[in-house]
């Protein structure tokens, strides 16, 4: 049952990250493989705020802002100039991989290779339906719930969210309807980047100790969760995150925890082979 608790926490963090990732992919058409490095950079910005006397929770907005700003800048100064030349999709993937390496090892060059952690109490221990969850973990679960409800509300009920979905489905037709798609895409980078930064900080809080390369393989979990739910499907992303989070942690309890990403990778390969649009998805359907 304790691995179930771990799995639930992994799933909650992964859900926040995957919703941002899949939204970014659906609206902007960029598979941003640098997502993990922006997560860990955001976690470190929050760490330094925390180390300078800001409480861990109050330093969370620093991480969120870092994720938003870095993602926006990445689009503005790297992906957009490349896309103007109508590159093959593989070019964008390679560029993103390069950015990921630079982001991760650039960070390592600055902060060094040692493990750090936030100054933060784990809070009271609660015993809930057979699981032991700390106050910290409960807050992370609550953040996850708030994020998912907010994104649902944004996409279903707001003018911006509908314009994002329209841009994702048919950008030319969206423009013909008067939607400024460039603005919508920039805004999507900001919002999904904020989720990326948030995911980075709660990921670091959840693992307890972390270092510059801690999120390097996270992209495998993200891809697995995204493809499981169907690319561009925010609800699928939540479902995919739950399945991947639980299955990797529970199997890690029986096999070797080192194999977490391998298990996710096998799930990813299976999905790409048998259901490339996910369990629910039919192509890209934000």
């Amino acid at each position: 049952m304790s691995s179930f608790g771990f799995g639930l926490m992994t799933a909650a963090v992964l859900a926040i990250a995957t919703v941002g990732f899949t939204m970014q992919f659906a609206v902007t058409n960029v598979l941003n493989l640098a997502y993990g490095s922006i997560m860990i950079n955001s976690a470190f910005v929050a760490y330094y705020a925390n180390a300078h006397g800001v409480t861990a929770w109050a330093s969370l907005p620093f991480g969120v802002a870092t994720g938003a700003a870095a993602s926006w800048a990445l689009n503005r100064f790297v992906f957009t100039p490349f896309q103007r030349r109508n590159p093959a999709p593989i070019t964008v993937v390679i560029v993103a991989l390069g950015v990921d390496l630079i982001g991760t090892f650039g960070l390592q060059a600055i902060v060094g290779g040692s493990y750090v952690s936030y100054h933060q109490s784990q809070g009271h221990e609660y015993h809930i339906v057979g699981m032991f969850l700390s106050g910290l973990q409960l807050i992370i679960l609550a953040i996850c719930a708030v994020v998912l409800v907010t994104i649902h509300w944004l996409l279903r009920y707001t003018r911006l969210g509908k314009a994002m979905r329209a841009t994702s489905a048919n950008p030319n037709l969206a423009r013909n309807s008067g939607v400024k798609t460039q603005f919508i895409i920039s805004t999507t980078w900001l919002i999904s980047g904020a989720l990326c930064g948030l995911a980075g900080v709660v990921f670091a809080m959840n693992t307890g100790v972390f270092e510059a390369t801690s999120a390097q393989l996270y992209i495998v979990l993200l891809l697995a969760a995204m493809f499981l739910g169907g690319p561009g499907e925010p609800y699928g992303a939540m479902f995919g995150a739950l399945v991947i989070g639980l299955s990797t942690e529970i199997s890690a309890a029986y096999v070797n925890p080192q194999y977490k990403e391998v298990i996710a990778f096998v799930a990813l390969l299976g999905m790409l082979t048998f259901r490339p649009y996910g369990i629910f998805g039919s192509e890209k359907t934000l």
Binding site: N176, S177, V179
Partner: protein
């Protein structure tokens, strides 16, 4: 029909226009004009550049040479979202709806430039016009039949009461009776209420019946134009487009 769905039209003019993809012209030396109260149609064989021409008028395809004006605004290579603001409603030949969005959401995006409080009334007006859509507001546009989807595509542009309607084969894939109704009642109706209609149509006969003026496109150029009455007397036109009386099979781009 309800008059409030259309607005007094504007004159749309293309002069010496050439346009295409990747700097390669598909259509060239095009002079066309559409004016308020009139239906102007473009006919021509598959691949002659009809869709490309329309796309260049609404900012989807790049104008390489020449000019486009709407009213007294030069819209040459203006961004499509700006062209929409001027009052041009464009229904493409394919990909004319947002499949994952519901019918209601498609109409809401159609009214994206409106103030929030105006949208419900406009949706009501569009539903009066296409009552078939009433029962399917929550259905995803991707799940509609071909005819229902075309109505939604038309309904989406009507949300802004466009002064110029640019329609690319609105009757493709429609049953003959529905196609005739769409052309003769609705589309002709817009022009009769003062809008400007520019229409690409495969069914040359049906197009001629509702048009005030028709251009014939061949190999990316205007090869013939005239009032329908005169074209019907032109042996070359009759042989290529009206011969046998059967409409050519609808294309799927």
């Amino acid at each position: 029909m309800s008059a409030e769905l259309s607005t007094q039209g504007l004159v749309l003019t293309a002069t010496g226009l050439s346009a295409g993809y990747d700097r390669r012209a598909i259509v060239s030396a095009i002079d066309v004009q559409a004016s308020p109260g009139k239906v102007v149609s473009i006919v021509g064989p598959n691949g002659s550049g009809k869709s490309t021409l329309l796309k260049s008028l609404v900012g989807v395809v790049r104008v390489l040479d020449g000019h486009v004006t709407v009213g007294d605004v030069d819209t040459t290579n203006m961004a499509s979202e700006e062209i929409a603001k001027i009052g041009i409603g464009y229904v493409p030949q394919v990909e004319d709806v947002f499949p994952p969005l519901s019918v209601k959401e498609n109409l809401e995006i159609g009214g994206y430039l409106l103030a929030r409080r105006e949208i419900p009334d406009r949706i009501e007006a569009v539903l009066e016009f296409f009552p078939r859509l009433k029962g399917m507001m929550t259905r995803k546009a991707g799940k509609l039949s071909g005819g229902e989807r075309k109505m939604l595509a038309m309904g989406r542009v009507l949300m802004l009461s466009p002064s110029v309607l640019v329609l690319d084969e609105p009757t493709a894939n429609l049953a003959p009776m529905v196609a005739t109704q769409l052309l003769e009642e609705y589309i002709r109706g817009f022009a009769d209420h003062g809008s400007t209609v520019l229409l690409v149509e495969q069914r040359a006969k049906a197009a001629l019946r509702i048009s005030d003026w028709t251009y014939v496109l061949g190999g990316g150029r205007i090869v013939l134009s005239g009032a329908p009455r005169d074209l019907e007397q032109n042996p070359a036109f009759v042989e290529s487009f009206l011969g046998g009386g059967a409409a050519p099979p609808p294309s799927s781009d």
